[in-house]
Amino acid sequence: MLFVSPPKETEESEIMPLGAPRRIDNVYNRVVVGSDGTPNSLKTVGHAAGVDADLFVVSAYNPQATPEQPSSTAAAGEHQELYGEEAAREAIRVSIKELKKERARNIDHRVVAGSPAKALLEVAGSDPTNLIVVGNRGLGAAEGEALGSVPREVVKNAVCNVMVVQTGGDEIQTPGPGG
């Protein structure tokens, strides 16, 4: 004969029961993400697409048609500065191609001349219910610096929440000539 007695209240697991349904406050209006078309930024866009809100993909470009100096040899996957509006449009196209395939959702996009951080902050505007998604490295991460200038500026100046996706950490940092 087997008797199963219910556990005493004190013996129950420490996991608290899901009480009355809680009002969920942090529903985002708009998720703003930047893209330069590189694999790293596509990863960031993927994270942004996972958030349940309207997606806004922004691509910032340098209005100069070509770089003043040949760009330093960036490792594959690393972020790049975009020169000219056409390059920015191409980055957007690459970024939303996969998303459009996957799901029917509200995807908006814009190309902006100027700094990527400023473009993200501008599109997010002063609405605290927006969310900005950025990669942690990105363009402007000087050697030895783990946080790129774009995420740093966005984290510092945004009025809404910012999600920083680890697109590359210390462990995959390319060693400099000295190290």
Partner: protein, 146 residues
């Protein structure tokens, strides 16, 4: 990416850290995640008059700091998530640098959420140094809450 299984949140009692905890609570309810809430404390330095304190004094000062941190964490959790939180919250009290502790603990978390600016510090000097540091070095996605 979401849904997160474990959400790590830094709590120091500041308004921004309360927002961070709020975010963690909402996400935990939505995704059935558990929350690890960390409050870091630093043992007070010896009084400048003598420069030294006995081992016993140091111990009791450290214990007092730990107790204060625990009280702050419990009160903040109760205040933000309610008397009877609908989600599992694991409180953690640790001595040391908040950013470093959060970065270490991020190894076992799916997302870390911190307030955009912490308590204390001189404006402009320490402003948001924890969030910047965590955003840079965490092993998982970081959310900076406001």
């Amino acid at each position: 990416m979401a849904p997160w299984k474990r959400i790590l949140v830094g709590v120091d009692g500041s308004p921004a850290s309360r927002k961070a905890l709020e975010w963690a609570g909402d996400e935990a309810v939505r995704h059935g995640s558990e929350i690890v809430a960390l409050t870091a404390y630093l043992a007070p330095p010896p009084p400048p008059s003598t420069g030294t304190i006995s081992v016993h004094e140091a111990q009791s000062a450290s214990e007092a700091a730990s107790k204060a941190a625990q009280q702050l964490l419990m009160e903040t959790v109760k205040d933000v998530l309610g008397e009877d939180p609908p989600v599992l919250v694991q409180p953690r009290i640790k001595e040391g640098n908040a950013a470093k502790l959060l970065i270490d603990l991020s190894e076992e978390a799916d997302v870390v959420v911190v307030g955009s600016r912490g308590r204390g510090g001189f404006v402009g000097l320490l402003l948001g140094s924890v969030s910047q540091n965590v955003a840079a070095h965490a092993k998982c996605t970081v959310v900076v809450a406001r």
